[in-house]
Assembly symmetry: D2
Homo-oligomer: 139 residues x 4
């Protein structure tokens, strides 16, 4: 586990995610980051659907991925992630993607909470912020 990361989830590269260069297409990583966020929310914050049920929606406002090595079909990739920088309606995630301990990519995403009906920014609720603090604190 990279230093400062306490959560990680695995994805296996699907054949549909490869491209004619014979490697995983770079857009697939953006989907994998989301898969990891959904799993993180399920484990630590009660699940994305329960967040929606509370009337808020998380928009993605920024995505960055830096690719270090190509990933191939059927590779098992471990996505380490942490939620950081909760401020007002906003928060970020940072990611390290590894394959068998070797760094494949790094990334970050930024998000804004909005009211599901009005689509206006909504301050990150304390139950969300508290859950993240717990998730990001070493045992």
């Amino acid at each position: 586990m990279p230093d400062g990361f306490f959560s990680s989830y695995d994805v296996r590269v699907r054949f549909a995610e490869t491209d004619a260069q014979g490697i995983a297409h770079h857009a697939a990583y953006v989907v994998w980051l989301e898969v990891a966020r959904v799993a993180y929310l399920a484990d630590h914050v009660g699940g994305y659907r329960s967040i929606q049920a509370r009337g808020v929606e998380a928009l993605t406002t920024d995505v960055h991925v830096a690719y270090d090595r190509a990933a191939a079909f059927d590779d098992v990739l471990t996505i380490h992630l942490r939620c950081v920088d909760i401020r007002g309606a906003r928060f970020r995630y940072e990611y390290v993607i590894e394959r068998a301990g070797e760094q494949v990519a790094t990334g970050s995403t930024a998000h804004a909470l909005v009211d599901r009906e009005t689509r206006t920014p909504t301050r990150v609720p304390s139950w969300f912020a508290d859950a993240v603090v717990t998730a990001e604190s070493p045992a």
Copy 2:
């Protein structure tokens, strides 16, 4: 134009739609059929968004694609389609996909109209059926 088809739309194979076999992934065709249906509805039935605005939604209930030849990155494919078999809440599309006049694939999709709110089946309205009859009649 294949016999009995009066509408066609082009798609260009995206690099993201190829796979590690070096050809267009077979799931991409299902997306292209939808792109062609959306264009067909725009040209003949006032557009998909106007259909939604009238309170109905078209669900896809069946998809079939038969692949004759591989398609490659950057190929321009022509999707010929026709709307057939309007009955009650249901209707179908048939497709022939060609590249420079050579058949690449054929397909069909089935759909059911539902009320956007209740999700219950809704008889195909006459304005939809009439528009299809016009679209499918030779000039």
Copy 3:
């Protein structure tokens, strides 16, 4: 497990696989069938990469999906599949997709083995056919 099926694999609906109708997009199912085939090959036939290593490639020549119920974000779907009708260079898969024991969709795919270099049809090797017979025989 549906009658006559001995293999099944789970997928969880990704947020990226949903569409503006609020349900899993119908093209995503085609990708999930492939995910199940890859897992089947890994469990029963030594893995897709080992098949490629033997110089053959499996093309998809036909896809059919019939949708019975919508699937939603985060649903866990179980894909039951069986390999059938091995003849010459060709074979088929049949699928039943369930959610908590309720049928969501059924499908089938057809495939042809080709030589990786020449792309010409290659008779299904006995090690492949034997492995399938074993996989499809009740214990």
Copy 4:
């Protein structure tokens, strides 16, 4: 056209690219940037396939997208792009995505040329660099 941009290409948001938030999924933008690059290469550098034919391949080493506004199904988005910072084997693209003149997103991608066989970095050839200089010079 944003200041300093001389090339732009349109994409129409596909229904398959929307998600259950009712907007275009954020990973779709990464695919659209690639669609724009492919069109740029076709117009200015002889096409991506001709680049491959010369024995080089462009890898994507970094992707960044900042989302300003949501895009909806069937929106026509204009992707303005420019190729910048050609140095050694590396070059970058910068993007502004607009809808009817309103900024929807900005982005950048970084790329490295590699030899198709050896996968080792290959200096950007002069025919590529010269073509970019021409494309990026005001008429």
